[in-house]
């Protein structure tokens, strides 16, 4: 019994360590970032949008971000009539707070001002939810339930080992929880990998030629305009391969884009 207790103790210590590690914020730096954010808000209210952006960027330079921060930066760029940057920051914000009404409203207004109004390839509803989840949490929210179920599996196994119990209910519970842990942790890892691989960008140049191949002489399939959100598929300096919202693919000059 004493040894089993030691095993559980070790797991508990590890879990606490994991919990503490990613979420820990150095409080002094955060408060500095919040101060920069507040001063940016004040400058925005005074109509000094360029200065407001400088203040907001200071918060980012401190290594912290927030969906609201990105949203306010997008607003400032919108007021400065820099549509591409505005949409870029709105999209960044959307990754962190996809349900915000203010954000969705402003993004809609900004999008309505863009030249390109592509139809969007319809996606199954579960793909939409999954992508939103991936963008927001990168799998972290699945990892913790997964770890809890995993800990349950370990506890049951330890009980079984120590007691040598052959209780069929214990075996069933063990099978179910092991499956649950596998699914949850697998999904968490899949989401994390997908989040890392996902690359979106916004066209910042007033207009940019979408070419069939990564050469300056390649035929221009169509012209895309400022504010268009594209997915980056590949890279061949100085060209990047992109996919438009309507599914069309082509190459554009990397200098015309900025990542989301």
């Amino acid at each position: 019994m004493r040894f089993a207790f030691h095993g559980m103790h070790l797991i508990a210590i590890l879990l606490v360590g994991l919990l503490a590690m990613p979420g820990r914020l150095a409080s002094a730096q955060v408060s500095e970032a919040i101060m920069a954010f507040d001063s940016g808000n004040q400058l925005y209210r005074d109509g000094q949008y360029t200065e407001a952006i400088t203040a907001y960027t200071r918060a980012l330079d401190l290594g912290y971000t927030s969906g609201v921060l990105y949203f306010n930066i997008g607003n400032a760029y919108f007021r400065l009539d820099e549509l591409g940057q505005a949409i870029r920051y709105y999209e960044k914000s959307r990754l962190l707070m996809p349900e915000s009404h203010e954000l969705l409203h402003s993004l809609g207004i900004a999008r309505a001002r863009t030249v390109d109004q592509f139809s969007r390839v319809p996606r199954p509803i579960w793909v939409v939810y999954w992508d939103s989840f991936v963008a927001r949490t990168a799998g972290r929210w699945l990892f913790w339930p997964g770890m809890i179920v995993y800990a349950l599996v370990l506890g049951l196994l330890a009980f079984r080992v120590r007691r040598g119990s052959r209780n069929p209910w214990l075996r069933r519970l063990l099978a179910v929880s092991a499956l649950g842990a596998l699914v949850l942790l697998g999904a968490a890892f899949a989401a994390s990998i997908q989040a890392e691989r996902r690359h979106m960008a916004v066209v910042l140049a007033p207009q940019s030629a979408l070419r069939d191949a990564p050469t300056p002489n390649a035929a221009v399939a169509l012209t895309v305009h400022e504010g268009l959100l594209v997915e980056i598929l590949g890279n061949a300096e100085p060209w990047v391969e992109v996919r438009l919202p309507n599914g069309a693919r082509g190459w554009v000059d990397a200098g015309d884009l900025a990542d989301v």
Binding site: F3, G7, L10, I11, L14, L15, G17, L18, M21, P22, L25, V30, A33, I34, N41, Y44, R45, D46, G47, Q48, Y49, Y64, T65, S66, G67, V68, L69, F71, N72, N75, F78, R79, L80, D81, L96, H101, E102, H105, S106, I109, A110, R113, A138, G139, R140, F143, M147, Y150, L154, L157, A158, V161, R162, G164, L185, S192, I193, E196, P206, Q207
Partner: protein
């Protein structure tokens, strides 16, 4: 305006009254007469005459008085015979736009000597010491029968009997026959025959009619059309004053009938319809007979139809690669912007005026794309177009007035607008931008008007305001889950722990199932422990404690090894146990000796010496090693 003040005929038969009047006016206007340049022109009365007609040849010297001009010699001729060597001289004075001008003209008369082409050679005229030469003039002489009746009528009678008014003859010839195609025609002058699409072409229709011919009731015969063109009429004089020009040796009056600027709306070869006019024309007798002039019979007007040639314009499409901001403007343009005030409160309207001026298709051009910053509410512009039709080209100004209402404070560059036009002179697209003005909006964005917000309280046509609080702070760069080594450690370490637990549990269970095995395994270490304790006591000079530990070491080893309770064993029981488990008799004696020695020393009054204690310890060790090898259990 042009006012003919007087016309003086210096001829023997001229009435004295008009001579005096003319002289007086001539004197009045003489002062400014020398300012303009001298122009010498030669012309004839007809380019085609019958064999029985008289040809008048004129040399007109403009901007010179009779005193300046030496009387020229009659020119050399071919096929014409001079009727009198001394030319008739004519002086005229006129005031044009307040400027007085004089002219002198000389007239010779010729009679054809044969049919066929005739020629009047060049004439040298000396004006103020300078010699001017006129161009030679070709004349065609045809049989009199081919000439119209009126001409024939005027010809011989006047020549033979100048004082007799000509008798009227029955008007049996068609009236139009007396007016030749050289007598009246329309000349069309396009500014270009090959242009770009939307490029301006200026077309002028000039009516030429022989000097002396009078026209009345002239009107456009057909509707003039130019398919494929946008047309802008240019102004012409409502009451045109004919200009006198010499064309192919004949003197004509010209007036501008129509001026129009056309802008081709498509590429290709486009046709512009001829301009056709109908009028009634009167050709006076070309006679110097004063009786004809004073007692002329009622003028006879004849209907004429004159048409200009059609013109063909070759239109090229505009070159490819027009920038986005090209709004169809072709020509030369200029754009300006102004704002009615630069400091406003939130909610107060400002007026932004875009003024596009230039030469070209100003009427048809689209307003440039103007999108003010998002805080501004924008209303449809008011557009005023002013076109100047006086010049040779259509030019004008288009003024677009936008009303903007700021909904938030800030300072803005207004207007950020761009326009591109095609410069026809440089054959390239040119981008123009008005200079932007900084507009400062002060005051607080008031709560949005109810009508302007959606159900969720968000503005209808503007972005939502900034959010004041951020609660979701997070590190900018988070290590992804699958790249965190601690994650893998957290997953694998408990598994390893579980495996270790499994092994350990299995072993403890084995131990619990066999106590002998457990005691056996602990016999040796226990003995070592007691011996170690004994050595410690020896170094402390505690001889009793030492011997007690030595005895315990031996006894506990045996007890554990044989799985018996060692403490309560008598010497006899101990030896029997050893014997039962295969210990040799010598070893049994050694064990008994050591234990008895230990008991003896523990209760002896004198402490043992150091050497005895050393041997006791060594012996105990040897006994344990030997027991370990000899005992079977």
């Amino acid at each position: 305006m042009h006012h003919t003040l007087a016309m003086i005929r210096v001829l023997p038969s001229v009435p004295l009254r008009s001579l005096i009047a003319g002289l007086a006016l001539w004197l009045v206007g003489a002062a400014g007469a020398h300012a303009q340049t001298v122009r010498v022109q030669a012309f004839v009365s007809e380019s085609t005459i019958g064999t029985e007609e008289i040809l008048a040849y004129n040399i007109q010297i403009e901007n010179a008085s009779s005193s300046d001009v030496a009387r020229p010699e009659a020119p050399r001729t071919e096929g014409l015979t001079l009727l009198q060597t001394a030319p008739s001289t004519q002086m005229s004075t006129s005031v044009i736009n307040g400027q007085l001008s004089q002219s002198v003209s000389f007239e010779w008369r010729y009679r054809p000597s044969r049919e066929g082409p005739a020629r009047i050679g060049e004439t040298a005229v000396v004006v103020k010491g300078q010699t001017y030469r006129t161009a030679p003039i070709a004349v065609t002489i045809i049989p009199q029968s081919q000439r119209p009746a009126t001409a024939r009528r005027n010809a011989r009678t006047r020549l033979i009997d100048p004082f007799n008014p000509p008798t009227t003859t029955p008007d049996d010839t068609p009236p139009a026959a007396s007016i030749g195609k050289d007598d009246i025609f329309i000349r069309v002058i396009p500014s270009a025959s090959s242009v770009y699409q939307s490029e301006q072409i200026h077309i002028e229709y000039q009516l030429y009619f022989r000097e002396g011919m009078q026209l009345r009731q002239s009107r456009l015969a057909d509707s003039w059309d130019a398919e494929g063109f946008w047309r802008e009429e240019l102004d012409v004089e409502r009451r045109p004053i004919p200009q006198t020009v010499v064309e192919k040796g004949l003197r004509y009056n010209t007036i501008v009938l129509k001026r129009v600027a056309v802008f081709p709306t498509r590429a290709g070869t486009l046709q512009i319809d001829p301009l056709k006019i109908e009028a009634e024309a009167f050709v006076p007798t070309r006679s110097s007979n004063p009786f004809d002039q004073f007692f002329s019979f009622s003028p006879r007007y004849e209907p004429v139809v004159v048409s200009s040639p059609p013109i063909t314009i070759n239109v090229e499409p505009l070159p490819a690669g027009a920038p986005e901001s090209f709004n169809g403007a072709v020509g030369t343009f200029h754009i300006e912007a102004s704002v009615d005030r630069q400091d406003v409160e939130v909610g107060e309207p400002i007026q932004v005026e875009l003024r596009i001026s230039g030469t070209g298709n100003i009427a048809t051009l689209e307003p440039p794309l103007f999108t003010p910053p998002g805080v501004f509410e924008q209303y449809d512009p008011q557009i005023r177009t002013a076109i100047n039709r006086n010049g040779n080209r259509i030019n004008g100004t288009k003024v677009l007035t936008y009303v903007l209402i700021p909904r938030s404070n800030g300072s803005f560059q207004i207007p950020q607008v761009e326009m591109t036009y095609f410069n026809t002179a440089r054959r390239q697209y040119e981008r123009i931008q008005p200079e932007a003005v900084t507009v400062r909006v002060t005051g607080n964005a008031s709560t949005p008007v109810a009508a302007m917000t959606s159900a969720m309280g968000l503005p209808v046509d503007d972005i939502a305001g900034i959010l004041p609080e951020a609660s979701d702070w997070r590190p900018l760069h988070r290590q992804p889950l699958h790249r965190n080594p601690l994650v893998y450690l957290a997953l694998l370490l408990p598994l390893a722990g579980l495996a270790a637990l499994h092994v350990y549990t299995a072993r403890t269970k084995a131990l619990a199932g066999d106590e002998r095995l457990a005691r056996n395994r602990s016999a040796h270490p226990l003995a070592r422990k007691h011996l170690h304790g004994a050595m410690t006591l020896r170094s402390r000079q505690d001889s009793r404690g030492f011997y007690q530990e030595v005895e315990r070491a031996v006894r506990s080893f045996i007890g554990n090894r044989l799985n018996v309770a060692e403490t309560g064993l008598t010497y006899q029981q101990l030896i029997q146990a050893l014997e039962g488990n295969g210990a040799s008799p010598a070893l049994r004696k050694q064990v008994l000796d050591l234990i008895q020695e230990c008991d003896r020393v523990r209760f002896a009054p004198v402490p043992p010496d150091q050497a005895a204690m050393n041997t006791a310890c060594d012996r105990a060790s040897q006994i344990i090693v030997q027991l370990n090898s000899e005992l079977t259990a």
